[in-house]
């Protein structure tokens, strides 16, 4: 599939971009040749979007240079990037649903005759583009009535209408059905066949190998490898993407599993846009064991956890905890049963940033008798509890009255973990418990999880860190496209086997 490549059309050299508290891109370099599909691969938060947003003029780099066709550029905004022939199709479409296709395409770049729009000319230009690149769009259709795949084609035509030669596609397949994905790949190849160059962002390995000429893998803001599609396998890419050379071995005794505590059967649920993300998930977690769920992000992890914990409605299947069906219970009722939940999204769900550490420490039990006398808050008892937990979980803070946003990410996570891991627990559901934390905090949280397991708590661990899964879990399941692709005993699990399951959904080679 390699195209007859021309010269280099885009060079990114030594780009660094920091946001408060996080270096999103650290000395990133990348080249794009004419007629090439260059895949940018990495987990969520690896810095892919930050990088392309700088190329498209939405952010300005702190350091480093961007060259377009050999010429150094300093974009003030995306208009400058468009003028240089760069087009971007965002993951979330930037279309106006009540306008027609033609109106959307010419928006901001209107074809006019005097003071009036010249929609006839625009229509002819759109038809010509559509025919040339095999992008079937009806200029007179209303965008809101189109399917997602059709809307994406409109976005592509919109970029081409602005004479883009370099196209940035941000997770273009995330919203498409498998059939649409195949159509989309045909379009992409017809584009490169006619000299367009494409940066393709994704975290789906199968797609990368299907379309990419070259692949650059980002992890934690750094380039960890650039390779050609021929030289790569799904396995090698998975290792690059999620792997870390250091394995944190956690000391733990053999598990002594008891009765089943969490039982999930055929669970289904949807994401916020109504796309089914959990597609018939089954699992059984017993008391005193840690069941780890590995998987490439975006395979339904978030929806699965939220559905089990009562935060997201199940559209099918059932959840049972401690022998009771909890499928449609509220989060509070599930929590009161003795089920704790460390959420994936710390700032959105885990804490109230403006509240004190003490108030955050009782966020899920402020209403208990201990902390509330006939509906009046017992601040003294809350503070005593907070002091105790801060001590016990080694939260580094000047005092429990300080607002939680004065703490580092690691200490905020310790507050969440302290809150969730306290009380009479029967089951624990933890999602990405150590994301973005320093080594010390990671070890501490790992130790606490194992401690609970040894006390007979059933633990369901969801993590994108394969090392974390491998070192903590007693059994490991792989989540692939919203269902359990396979279960392995952690004593016999290898990174290779898991990587392949994560990438393909089966352990027997290509699916």
């Amino acid at each position: 599939m390699a195209q007859a490549s021309g010269g280099t059309v885009l060079e990114v050299e030594g780009i660094t971009k920091a946001f408060p508290g996080v270096v999103a891109n650290d000395d990133v370099s990348l080249t794009l040749n004419q007629g090439e599909i260059h895949c940018l691969l990495g987990e969520n938060g690896a810095g892919k979007s930050t990088l392309v947003n700088m190329v498209f003029g939405l952010y300005r780099p702190d350091q480093g240079t961007i060259k377009v066709r050999g010429e150094e550029v300093h974009f003030e905004d995306s208009g400058d990037a468009i003028a240089r022939g760069i087009g971007m199709v965002h993951q979330h479409f930037q279309l106006i649903p009540v306008f027609t296709v033609a109106e959307n395409i010419i928006l901001g770049n209107e074809v006019t005759k005097g003071a009036f729009l010249d929609l006839d000319t625009a229509r002819r230009q759109i038809d010509a583009l559509a025919e040339r690149y095999g992008l079937a769009v009806d200029p007179d259709a209303t965008v809101g009535e189109l399917s997602v795949g059709e809307q994406q084609r409109v976005e592509l035509v919109k970029a081409l209408f602005r004479d883009a030669d370099i196209l940035i596609l941000d997770e273009p397949t995330a919203v498409l059905t498998p059939g649409e994905v195949d159509d989309f790949f045909e379009v992409v190849e017809s584009l490169t066949g006619q000299g367009k160059s494409i940066i393709f962002i994704t975290h789906k390995l199968r797609e990368v190998l299907a379309v990419a000429d070259r692949i650059t893998v980002l992890r934690s803001g750094r380039v960890v490898g650039t390779t050609t599609a021929e030289g790569a396998t799904q396995q090698s890419l998975a290792n690059l993407m999620v792997g870390r050379d250091v394995v944190f071995r956690v000391e733990k005794a053999e598990a002594d599993p008891g009765a089943p505590v969490i039982r999930v059967q055929g669970l289904r649920s949807q994401d916020d846009r109504g796309v089914e993300m959990v597609t018939g998930f089954d699992v059984e977690v017993r008391a005193g064991e840690i069941f780890g769920i590995a998987g490439v992000e975006g395979n339904g992890q978030r929806e699965l956890v939220e559905t089990i914990c009562g935060m997201r409605p199940a559209t099918g299947g059932r959840v049972e905890m401690l022998g009771q069906e909890t499928t449609h219970w509220t989060p509070r009722k599930i929590h009161e049963l003795g089920v704790a939940h460390v959420p994936e999204n710390r700032s959105k769900h885990g804490v109230v940033a403006q509240y004190s550490i003490a108030d955050n420490l009782v966020l899920n039990r402020y209403h208990h008798r201990r902390f509330s006398n006939l509906g009046v808050r017992n601040t003294a008892a809350i503070n005593v509890e907070a002091e105790e937990l801060v001590e016990q979980f080694d939260v580094r803070t000047p005092g429990v009255d300080a607002t939680i946003d004065t703490l580092s990410g690691g200490n905020q996570q310790k507050v969440i973990v302290a809150r969730e891991l306290t009380g009479d627990l029967k089951a624990l559901i933890v999602a990405q418990p150590t994301r973005g934390l320093d080594v010390g905090s990671i070890e501490f949280i790992h130790r606490k999880i194992i401690e609970l397991r040894d006390q007979g708590v059933a633990v369901l661990l969801v993590s994108a860190e394969l090392d974390e899964i491998l070192s903590l879990s007693d059994r490991i399941g792989v989540l692939y496209r919203g269902r359990l692709a396979g279960t392995v005993d952690s004593a016999h699990a290898t990174r290779e086997e898991l990587g392949l399951l994560m990438a393909t959904g089966s352990s027997g080679g290509q699916s």
Partner: protein
Amino acid sequence: MNGAKHANAGIGRAASQVHRLLTEAWRLQPLYVSLYAILLSFVVGGVLISIIGVNPFTAYWALLRGMVGGGDQIAGSVARSVPFIGSALALAFAFRAGLFNIGAEGQLLAGGITAAYVGALSWMSDLPGIVAIPLILIAGTMGGAVWGGIPGVLRTKTGAHEVISTIMLNSLVLFGVRWMVNSRDPVVLRDTESTVPRTDPISDTGVLPELVDSQPVLHTGLFALLGICLVVAFVLNRTTFGFEVGTVGLNPHASHYAGINVNRVIVASMAASGAFAGLAAASEISGTNGFFQPGTFFLMGFDGIAIALLARTNPVAIIAAALLWGSMLSGAPLMQQEADVSIDVVRIIQAMVLLFVAADAIVRYLFRVREMDQSPFKATSVEGAV
């Protein structure tokens, strides 16, 4: 040029100095901006007054005497301010839950007409005051609560934004009560013996006792509204329910995660907000008017928005802000009489207060107030170095 710059810096320094003193004197930090906004509005108002050829000091002196120049003036000012406490609480409580209730105008009408209807029921005159008065106040409170609760329910069931639905409900009740009170055929709630459109007078037993025979009358409804302010302060700061309200207002996602019933909090907060407006209206019906007229509460709900924002939604600060608001309106006629400055100038000053409070960047810039406990994102920036 340089001189001007110098003077500017001097003013800035002086302002900083004043601000520092206030910081130490006032422990309610977020209220600086409000104090400066009031100051600034009076300065700009003074410029306006001098443009029309009147000495602003003469005008303001007359205004001040109209506000607090004697016992009668003070009583009148307080009386004028009392219902504003309720309409401001109506915004403030919902605001803590992250809701923007701009329906106090309608909630006052709903509460007022309910109170007037119950107060005029034939069997009311058989009841002693100690029963009749609370009944009227409760009726008004319930009327406001229902009218405030509806947008809450709409929000949770359909996602309709409360700003839109409260505006719509304002119109609905405004024209609804106007028709009920105006209509002669059929007679709905109109007092047919009256020449002006109004409801039947409430029973004598339902009239709140008078404190001072001022203009308007200062009556014991004052204690009801002061009391409810303290109750709201207590509920928000000390109770479990108040904690839920604040949590939903700050982070509804975390609230949902933590097991708080977000929808229940939204409906309850909206209903409570409406209840405060309804109580204010009932207290006026019972203590001041004795009957309901459609125009009685005109603009009172919208003034409540300004007062609540001026008080930064702090229930205790609302008492002070409402007193300022009411007494300015109460003192304005003397300014018109003595200095020949229209009452509308006071309205303009009040509008500017709201403008400066809402657009507090202007005030912060002019008075070099640093961002403090306003935005959590900027909170830790500069203040530590001082």
